[in-house]
Structure formats: structure tokens, C-alpha cells
């Protein structure tokens, strides 16, 4: 590997601990300079343009805004801004996955009154998710119409609840790590590592290839009645807190980001 000139790297992240903090230290040990842009110090203006490239760790709206601003000023952002945006927006994500042939749960949108007057009781239970989100934050099961606030005019997004086994699947390059988890549990909760689930591994690698991703994660459910695999959530930059693969995720992802940067810069 050729020796790289020290780089000025920005990380767009909602926190400075966890994976963000670790990758910062990894790059600093290699001689690079790294600044983490948290919400409170994220000024989206020309001052951002001084870095060599940015890592889009968090997909919250203002980090996406920053990433689009950087893209438009020809500053490299990794992972890809547009793909990150699509997977942050559940509606966009649904259509994108459908178009690529992946199985996703049925989706409904409307306000509580529309659900009450028009949705069959047979459709329950459902899962309420924020439109702009990923992960398990603010997700809840709606067992019946009584779980919705009928006085609210807010438009809500509901997915059909799939009965079955829930999986969190990480991948870094061509290595996958399949974890079985409790329904709606977040990435950090206790999981059971599953080995040799060829179907899940192939689905994950297929997703990776189609979207040209270097790393990421999928939340899957294998429906009990049909044995079919549904994608219920996607992420372009998880914390890898339950990763049990053979490679060190910090080193592998840190190096693949630098490799991607060189590739994009060369182009």
C-alpha cells in the first residue's frame, strides 16, 4: 500500500463516541487530522469546504443537508449522500427496495381517522414508524385502532407486522454477520449469532451489490407462515456493536473509506 499524505477528514455524526470516536482515533494514529461535526457545531457554509473529504456517519436531516452542500461543491462524501437519503426516508426506501425486487411489508399512510374509517381490523397488528428515520427509535406496535390518537391530524406511516424471526445482519465488504434479535429491538441489544444461514447472507450481499455499498446493515424478518424474508429496515452506517465477524470493523471500514476516497479523487 502506498503511503498517503495526511488528510483533513470531517465526520458528520450525531455523537462523538462509539464508532465515530473509534474511527477518529484510528485515522489520527495514521497521521490524519479528523474533526467531528456534531449538530451544535455544524455550520453549513463555505467553512466546510476546507476538508479533503467527509464521512456521513449520521443520516439526520441536517447531516444530509451538509452532505448535499458538500456534493454540490465537489467535496467527496462517503457513504453516498443520495443512497443515505433514500434509506433515511421510509417512503423512498420502500419504493427503491420494491423496484429492486426485495420483499417489504405492506405500507399504509393516513391520519388516525382515515385508518379508523377505512382499514379492516384484519390488517392489525401494524408497526408505526417515523417517515424520516432508521433504526428502532420511536417505533411501536399498533395492536388495534385504539392505539392511535384519534384526535391527531398527523399523517402516520404504518407497516404490516410480520410474524416471525427477526434478524440484524451486518456486512463489511463480503463478510456478513447474522444476528437473531428480539422484535423491534435496537442494534445494541443482546442478540444470538446465527451461522450458516445461506439465504440471509445471499440476500444481504445482493443488497450490497445492487446499491454498491461497502458496509451497512439490514433488519430482516423471516415470516413464520411462508418462510419468506422481508426487509424491514436498512442502514448505511450502523455502530457494528454486535459485530462478531473475523475482521476488525474499525480497521476494515476505515481502510475501505480511504480506498474509496482515493478512487473517487482519482476519477
Amino acid at each position: 500500500m502506498t503511503i498517503m499524505e495526511p488528510l483533513e477528514i470531517g465526520i458528520l455524526s450525531k455523537r462523538n463516541k462509539g464508532f465515530t470516536g473509534k474511527i477518529k482515533r484510528y485515522y489520527e494514529k495514521k497521521g490524519h487530522s479528523v474533526k467531528i461535526f456534531l449538530e451544535g457545531n455544524l455550520s453549513i457554509d463555505n467553512s466546510l469546504l476546507e476538508k479533503d473529504f467527509y464521512i456521513l456517519k449520521s443520516k439526520q436531516l441536517f447531516y444530509l443537508y451538509a452532505a448535499y452542500f458538500l456534493d454540490s461543491n465537489n467535496v467527496i462524501v462517503i457513504p453516498d449522500t443520495y443512497i443515505s437519503h433514500i434509506f433515511k426516508n421510509r417512503v423512498e426506501s420502500y419504493f427503491s427496495l420494491q423496484k429492486k425486487g426485495f420483499l417489504t411489508p405492506k405500507v399504509y399512510m393516513g391520519n388516525a381517522k382515515s385508518f379508523k374509517s377505512q382499514l379492516s381490523i384484519n390488517e392489525f397488528p401494524l408497526v408505526q414508524k417515523p417517515i424520516m428515520s432508521s433504526g428502532s427509535k420511536d417505533i411501536r406496535i399498533i395492536k388495534s385502532i385504539n392505539d392511535l390518537d384519534l384526535n391527531s391530524e398527523e399523517v402516520i406511516y404504518l407497516e404490516k407486522y410480520i410474524e416471525g424471526n427477526h434478524y440484524l445482519v451486518y456486512f463489511i465488504e463480503n463478510e456478513t454477520c447474522v444476528c437473531e434479535k428480539k422484535p423491534l429491538a435496537n442494534e445494541h441489544q443482546k442478540v444470538k449469532i446465527i451461522t450458516n444461514d445461506y439465504e440471509i447472507e445471499q440476500l444481504t450481499l445482493q443488497w450490497k451489490e445492487i446499491y454498491k455499498l461497502m458496509f451497512g446493515h439490514l433488519d430482516l424478518i423471516r415470516e413464520r407462515s411462508t418462510n419468506k424474508l422481508y426487509i424491514v429496515d436498512v442502514g448505511t452506517f450502523p455502530e457494528f456493536s454486535n459485530w462478531k465477524g473475523s475482521i476488525d470493523p474499525i480497521k476494515a471500514i476505515g481502510d475501505s473509506i480511504l480506498f474509496k476516497y482515493q478512487l473517487l479523487k482519482g476519477n
Binding site: E39, G40, N41, L42, S43, I44, D45, L61, F62, Y65, Y68, F69, S72, V91, E92, Y94, F95, Q98, K99, K106, V107, Y108, M109, G110, N111, K113, S114, F115, S117, Q118, L119, I131, E153, V155
Partner: protein, 272 residues
Amino acid sequence: MVKIGLIIDNYHLEKKVMQFLEYCRNIAEVSIYVEEEYLLDFSGNKFNEDIFFAKAKGDLVLSIVKLIEESTQIPVINSSKGIFLAFNRFLNSVLLRKAGINIPDFCLLPLGLMPPFKEYIIKNIIDQKNYSFNPKINKEEGNLKVIDIRALEEAEGINAKYNHLYYQEFIKSKWEYKIYTIGEELYFFKQLPILVNPDKMKSRTEIPNIPEIAEMAHKATHILDLEISSIDFLKSKEGIYYLTDINSSPNFNYLKNGPQIVGDYLISRAKR
């Protein structure tokens, strides 16, 4: 008879489209999808209209438009991309600037930081709701600082959604230029800026085509994928026109024969 689908919210249905519906019902079959009453089933909708017109910009409206785009060949005006970009002020600023359109300098800063321009206007970042510009004007050391109260509420109010403010450099202009775009047709007006006279219609007059504005308007609608829009421009003391606002759901009642012009345009764009 052409079938027109109108995707709308209660506010626009009650206040903005009466004449439009009256006209269209004579020349087309009109079905109405009201945001507050519609249950969107992503897998179960069967649309048989020849054209859709979205006259609102809420989340459900956007998703209905997206579903029609993804699952049918029926034209929708405006597109989901156009609606989304028009109400995302920061994103459209980024795209328009990149395309070489004159827009005032802008930035998005955390609360407490000041922009690098002396005179500025703070605008709401996501202009998705049905409420009007509500300016508060301050003068500090002779410099104008205008704050749209909506922007402050979004960043500092009880239900604050974020902690940033969008700053746009203030352009002093004698007139505000309002352009309606319907397909390739442009309609030009000027009026006193709202900060000078809040009753915008009182001073509004139709004006001849201004080529610099026309070029920017065509370019902007192409970049943002908008077929029907209204666009605001200001003219600096150096004589440069700046695009300051773009709206995907304009009130075309202000346009002479606006409802007919829009109705006829929809018919012309209907699926054959």
C-alpha cells in the same frame, strides 16, 4: 372526457380551487383525493385518471404522488421531486446555486452563530405548511435583519424540530418580481416587497417579459422538475436579479384566467 385527479388538502380545497374546479368540471371528469381523508395503501391503489394535479405539499400528498409515479404512467403535476425540492429551502438553494442561477448568499447555522453578511433574512428551512410569511423587522446599526417568525418557532418554539436557522443575504430591491410558470409559459408581475407593503396585491401589476428572469425561471423549473410554480425575484442596486423563493403550489387565482390556463394545461398534458 379526460379524467383529472386533484390531490389536495382541506385548506387548498376550501380556499384556493373553487374557480378551478368549476372550470374543470365542464371540460373533464374530476376526482378529488383529500389528504385529511385519504388512506394510502401502497399496494392496493388502482388509479384510472389521465392526469393528476397536486395542489398541496404535505407528507401524504407527496407519498400519493410518489406512488402514482412509481406504479403508473400517469403524468403528475408537479412531480414528487419538484414538490419536495421546492419546500426544502436549503436543498433548492444548493441545487440552484450549483446550476449557476443567481441566488442570494445563504447558510445554515446552529442557533447562536451569526452569518457572514451584514443584512439578512431568516427564513423557514422547510416550507411545507399552509401559513404565510410572518416577518419581524429589526434594524441594528443601520443594517436590516428580518426574521420570519415561522423559522424561529421551528428552531426555538415549544415543538422545535431542529436547532438551526437558514440565513439568506438581504437584497434591497424597489420591487419584488413574481413570476408564474405554467409549462413553458411565464407570466410576469411586480409588486412592492411585502416588507414595504404587506398587502402584496395592492401594488401588483403585470409587466412585460424580462429576459434575464425568464432564463433563470426556465432553468430553475427544469432543475427542480416543476411544471407549475411561482418564483420570486429581487433586483439589487447593481441591477442583478436574484431568485429568492420558489413555490410548487402557487395561488393561480391571482393570474387573469389562471384557473382556465391551469385547467387547459392539465388537459394538454393528460395521458393519451
